[in-house]
């Protein structure tokens, strides 16, 4: 009996190391492909026959990527700052995936949450230890309310969440634009759509606030919220009854129904949870990073989050690390664009390649001629038709 347990532990460790090695090789493969693209797009140098110069650009670009993401305290702070909304939105998409739902709507939920948090942020005036939690809570509630819409529609009418969330994203964009022009939100002295400023005590405190001489360290307490969200998600998924029901529902909806679970309620709850996490991301951006809202403060984060959840296989730790990796690439990419003539768009491509390579262990195995346990990502969700 004991031997079996030991053997299983060893097997698990092998599985884990190979998955680590796999990730490393996937990142390496993506960087190699990226290097070729950098070289071949350097038309001016190539036309002059300066191949060595083109290759040197790759070196300095990748070096800037590393330095810009981990090379200094400032770089680490930038990485943390970029990763914060990615972690929260990643968890949002992941929790929906676990319940078999495809949440493309993190963008809209983030906008809804951000606007709710923003209102508390500028309408109240301290004290901070009351206002900040209230604003963050408002963000979660706003996101949850907006996320509940596709959930309710799916549960009641069967409307597909892929359609409804895309439509709600577009609608949220216009709603925010309209809100930013109302007296309630618009900054008094402005005519363009830009919101009032969050009051000073309403800001999420800066993580490195104790270092008074370093105002460039922008990371804020939203990161702590994000880490807490990962812990909550982990606990919820693995320890709570509802979390178990989510997973059962996600793996086999029919079986869950036969087992007596309230699948409609689960659908609504899953989308609400997803919306709440995305709403937290919105409040972190508004209360921490910007201190106000402009039209497009959600950016592409909601879509990046889908790649993150897929990369992290929707597990809590996986999603966290995937988001940190994406955040590091984001921060490093800015440095790279500043230092070299390589545009930051490279990192969008690198992210895509990493996801692709990690998803295809058989391909990595073929390229690097190594033995990798077939730890495939598995199916992300039940599929579109269900």
């Amino acid at each position: 009996m004991k031997i079996v347990v030991t053997l299983r532990k060893i097997a698990e460790r092998i599985a884990r190391t190979s998955s680590f090695r796999l990730t490393l090789l996937a990142v390496l493969s993506a960087m190699v492909v990226g290097a070729f693209i950098i070289i071949f797009s350097d038309i001016n140098k190539l036309q002059n026959g300066d191949i060595l110069g083109a290759i040197k650009t790759v070196g300095s670009a990748y070096w800037a990527l590393v330095v810009g993401s981990f090379g200094s305290l400032r770089a680490i702070s930038a990485t943390i700052n970029s990763a914060t909304p990615l972690i929260l939105c990643g968890v949002s998409v992941a929790v929906a995936f676990k319940a078999g739902l495809f949440n493309i709507g993190a963008t809209g939920q983030m906008l809804a949450g951000g606007m709710a948090a923003l209102w508390v942020g500028f309408a109240m005036d301290g004290p901070g230890f009351v206002q900040v939690p209230l604003a963050v809570l408002a963000g979660a509630l706003g996101g949850a309310a907006y996320g509940a819409i596709p959930g309710i529609l799916k549960a009641r009418t069967g409307a597909h969440e892929v359609i409804t969330t895309i439509m709600l994203n577009n609608m949220a964009g216009f709603l925010v634009l309209w809100l930013l022009k109302t007296n309630l939100y618009q900054r008094e002295d402005r005519t363009d759509p830009i919101s009032k400023l969050v009051t000073a005590p309403g800001h999420l405190p800066r993580l490195f606030g104790f270092m008074n001489d370093r105002p460039d360290l922008v990371a804020h307490a939203g990161f702590v919220v994000a880490l807490l969200a990962v812990i909550v998600y982990s606990w919820f998924l693995n320890r709570s009854t509802t979390g178990f029901e989510f997973r059962a529902f996600g793996m086999n909806a029919d079986a869950a129904q036969y087992a007596g679970m309230h699948t409609k309620r689960l659908t609504v709850m899953a989308m609400m949870f997803a919306g709440a996490f995305a709403g937290l991301a919105g409040s972190a951006e508004v209360l921490g990073t910007y201190g106000y809202a402009s039209q497009n403060f959600a950016g592409n984060i909601g879509y990046d989050a889908i790649a993150i959840a897929l990369l992290g296989r929707s597990t809590p730790l996986g999603t966290l690390f995937a988001a940190l990796l994406f955040g590091a690439l984001q921060a490093g990419g800015r440095q790279m664009q500043a230092n070299t003539d390589v545009p930051i768009d490279l990192i969008v491509m690198l992210r895509a390649l990493i996801v692709m390579f990690i998803a295809a262990p058989l391909l990595i195995k073929a390229i690097w001629r190594i033995k990798v346990e077939p730890t495939s990502l598995g199916q992300a969700f039940r599929g579109q038709g269900s």
Binding site: I37, S41, D42, I43, N44, F102, I104, L153, R156, T157, G158, A159, H160, V162, I163, T164, I166, M167, L168, N170, M171, F174, L175, L177, W178, K181, Y303, I306, A307, L310, D341, V342, P343, D345, L346, I347, V348, M349, L350, R351, A352, L353, V355, M356, A359, A360, L362, L363, S376, L377, G378, Q379, A380, F381, R382, G383, Q384, G385, S386
Partner: protein, 413 residues
Amino acid sequence: MSTVDAVVAPLISAEQRKQARSVGFTLVVLGIVAAFVLGNRPGDAGFKLVDSYIFVIPAQPFARILALVLIALGAAQLLKGFGKWTNVVLSIAAATFVISFLAWAASGGSFSFTGMLQDTVTRSVPIILGAIAGILCERSGIINIAIEGQLLGSAFAGAVVGSLFGPWAGILGAIAMGVGLSAILAVFSIRYRVDQVIVGFAINFFALGLTSFLAARVLTEHPDYNILSPLRPIALPLLSDIPVIGVVLFTQTLFAYFAYLAVAIATWSLYHTKWGLRTRAIGEYPKAAGTLGVDVIKLRYRNVLIAGAVAGVGGAWWPIGMVGRFDQNITNGRGFIALAAVIFGRWHPVGALSAALVFGLAEAIQLKMSNLDTGIPSEFLLMAPYLVTLVVVAGFVGRSRGPKAAGQPYDAQ
């Protein structure tokens, strides 16, 4: 009487009854909106149909009469139901409502109605082609989330190749890019058995990253790689002489004619040829098809590549059919709208066509609305098409089921 009821009743499922009810409610709500919103602006609205003829609609009376009719129709639907005529009644009601809305928006002035419909068709072209690409893949059991990436990638290829070697070469370049991106989808999902949603999303990001990167690094320094004169609309002989319809449908660029053909061919071949039967079979139950001797893998490869070519033409629409250049993220989510059209149209080419036209109409109205003063914040008007889609999907389309085997890798054993 009661025995007939007892026999008939079970044939109508609870879901159908719920849908019938929501149709009734929608009609009533539309009627109320027509009465209180569309009926509040006096003045005549001119719908210019042809150069010499303007059709004048008095906005207020039109809206009020429409309101009464809609509420009556809604009540009739709730009380009795139109049965198999429900969809016809609803379509006519919706079309009339849109006209009343336009009359309300344009009251006191006039606008080119025909031009707007022409815009509708023009702007739905890439959505139609993207949706056909999606249908071809999903019918053969491969989920295609990568439509957006295929459109974007081929728009870029079309712009660059078209600028260097002319528009026809540009279209070929776009097709090559579409097929190339499709090949990635095919190899990863069929050979390496990767989750199709993951590859699809990765392709979207890859295309976005690659095209933005190259646009920023190469095209800004070499603007001559990114300028071409787009194809002009061709008026089809005879057909284009039909009043209104001739302008709307038959004075379009080649891309629109290709889209009509693509819908017709896809519909006919999916339902009336051996290829179509096999394609639908490998999308629903590949094991059975495989047992009967269909080469599932080969057919899947072929269909995904054809889909890439169709999406390639759709992507070429931006540089070669419309604006004459490539801009970063020029497709701006149209591929996702196409994906919605696939589901909205229930994986049927004609269904997807109608959905795409609805989105095209929405875009065309947005273009018109930007220079009409309606007193309602423009954001709400811009939001309307998405809201309509939401209501339609929730109320009438309901639970749509895709091909059963979509998303599952095929194992020959």
